[in-house]
C-alpha cells in the first residue's frame, strides 16, 4: 500500500465533509462521486444544481452520496452573510451577498461556520484567489499569519520527508520563514504522526559562513523556537548536516536534536525549495505529493490546474486528515 492509499484508508474512518466549490468541473464531479461512493468522505459540490445534475447524468456518475448546494438558494445563505459581515469590518450586507455568491467564498464560509470540515479547490481557480478566499473566510490558525505549502517526499525505502515552502512564498522574511517551519511541524504531526524534526536550511552550518541571507535563517530559527519551544527545530544547517548523522557529527558544534535526523526541511526561499523538490523527485526517484496548503484554521487544499481525478481524490484524503 502506498502512502496515498494509506491516507485514503485513514480518511474513510473519519468520513469528513469535504466542500468542492468548483462543481462545474468534470474532474471534480468524478472525484466527488468516487469519494462519496467509496465513503472516503462526504462530498459537498457547489454550483448550479441543474447543471451539476445534468453533467453528472451525462458522465454516468451517481449523486447518491453527494450533497449539492447552490449558494444563492441555500437556506442558511443569510446566516452566512451575517457571519461574514460580523467577521469583516467595513463590509456591508449587499457586498457580503456578492462575495458569498462566489463559490470559493461561500465554500470557505461553510467550513468556517462548521457546516463542512475542509475545502478542496484550485482545479479552475488561481492559487492566489483560493488563498485570498480562505484567508477572508476561514482565517489563519493561532500564531500563524502566513499561508504556505509543503510537499510530502517519499524516497525509495519509504523514507518520508516534508519540504517547505516549495510553492507559495517566493521570498519569505524571517518571520514568515519561522511560521513556515512551525506550520509544517503541525502538518507533519497530523499526517504522519511521531516527532517532527525541523531543519532550517542554508549554505552555512551554525555560523560556518557569514551573509545576510544566513542571518535571515538564524533569525527565523530563533523566532520559531521562541514561538514553539516544544517543537524540535534547529539550524541554520546545510542539507547534508540536516539529513546525515555522520556529517552532522563532524560539522555541528552544539548538541542538536535535529541535525542528522531531520524529517522536515525548511528552505530559505522558493528558488531553493522548488529546485530541491524537483531534484529529489527526478534524481532520487522520490514520489512528491503536493503542494499541500497549510496555515489555515481549517484545512484548505489547492489542486493544480492539470490535476487528474485520482490526484483530486488523493488530495481530498490528505485534506480530510488535516482536520
Amino acid at each position: 500500500m502506498n502512502l496515498i492509499e494509506h491516507f485514503i484508508e485513514k480518511a474513510k474512518s473519519l468520513n469528513r465533509r469535504i466542500v468542492f466549490p468548483e462543481g462545474s468541473d468534470e474532474r471534480i464531479l468524478e472525484a466527488a462521486a468516487y469519494i462519496g461512493k467509496e465513503k472516503i468522505g462526504q462530498p459537498i459540490l457547489l454550483g448550479n444544481k441543474e447543471k451539476i445534475y445534468e453533467q453528472m447524468h451525462n458522465l454516468n456518475l451517481s449523486i447518491d452520496n453527494v450533497t449539492l448546494i447552490e449558494p444563492k438558494t441555500f437556506p442558511d445563505f443569510n446566516q452566512l452573510v451575517t457571519m461574514y459581515v460580523e467577521k469583516r469590518q467595513n463590509i456591508s450586507i449587499s457586498v457580503a451577498e456578492k462575495l458569498l455568491s462566489r463559490e470559493l467564498i461561500f465554500g470557505g464560509m461553510l467550513v468556517s461556520s462548521g457546516k463542512a470540515d475542509c475545502l478542496v479547490a484550485g482545479a479552475c481557480n488561481p492559487t492566489a484567489t483560493l488563498i485570498q478566499s480562505a484567508v477572508l473566510t476561514i482565517g489563519y490558525r493561532d500564531k500563524i499569519s502566513t499561508a504556505s505549502s509543503f510537499f510530502i517526499m517519499v524516497l525509495p525505502g519509504n523514507r518520508i520527508l516534508f519540504y517547505a515552502d516549495c510553492a507559495v512564498n517566493i521570498e519569505p522574511d524571517f518571520e514568515q520563514l519561522a511560521e513556515i517551519g512551525i506550520t509544517t511541524a503541525y502538518s507533519y504531526k497530523k499526517l504522519i504522526g511521531g516527532q517532527p524534526k525541523v531543519a532550517f536550511l542554508s549554505f552555512s552550518t551554525q555560523g560556518s559562513a557569514n551573509h545576510p541571507l544566513i542571518d535571515k535563517v538564524i533569525q527565523a530559527v530563533q523566532l520559531a523556537l521562541k514561538k514553539e519551544p516544544a517543537i524540535d527545530l534547529d539550524g541554520e544547517f546545510q542539507a547534508d548536516t540536516a539529513l546525515v548523522k555522520s556529517v552532522a557529527e563532524k560539522k555541528i558544534k552544539k548538541p542538536s536534536s535535529v541535525a542528522g535526523q531531520a524529517n522536515i526541511l525548511i528552505f530559505p526561499d522558493l528558488n531553493s525549495g522548488n529546485i530541491a523538490y524537483k531534484l529529489t523527485q527526478y534524481l532520487a526517484n522520490a514520489e512528491a505529493y503536493g503542494p499541500i496548503l497549510q496555515g489555515f484554521r481549517y484545512p484548505v487544499s489547492d489542486l493544480s490546474r492539470g490535476a487528474k481525478v485520482k490526484d483530486i481524490i488523493g488530495v481530498s484524503a490528505i485534506t480530510s486528515l488535516q482536520v
Binding site: 469583516r88 457580503a96 462566489r102 467564498i105 481557480n125 485570498q132 478566499s133 484567508v135
Partner: protein, 82 residues
C-alpha cells in the same frame, strides 16, 4: 455613465471598504502600497464594485485590479458591455 462619475463612485467604495478618507484617494493610488489594503481585500473591493455598479466581474478580476485607475478601466468595460 461618464468616467468622472465612475471615478467618484469608485473612490467612495474604496474609502468605505478600506476605511480611508475619500480625499486621500488619487486616481493613481495603488490599493496595497498607497492605501494600506491587505492583498486579500482585493476580492472585497471587486464585490463592492459589483454591488455599486450592478455588474458581474470575472472571477480573477481581483488579481488584475491593483490601482484606482485600473478599477475604473475595468468597471467602464463592464458598464459599456451591459
Amino acid at each position: 455613465m461618464d468616467t468622472k462619475e465612475i471615478e467618484e463612485r469608485v473612490k467612495k467604495v474604496v474609502s468605505q471598504v478600506l476605511n480611508v478618507p475619500q480625499d486621500s484617494i488619487k486616481i493613481e493610488s495603488r490599493f496595497v502600497e498607497d492605501l494600506g489594503a491587505e492583498s486579500v481585500q482585493s476580492l472585497e473591493l471587486v464585490a463592492a464594485f459589483e454591488s455599486e455598479f450592478d455588474i458581474q466581474m470575472e472571477e480573477d478580476a481581483a488579481l488584475s485590479i491593483k490601482t484606482v485607475e485600473t478599477a475604473i478601466e475595468f468597471i467602464k468595460k463592464y458598464i459599456d458591455a451591459k
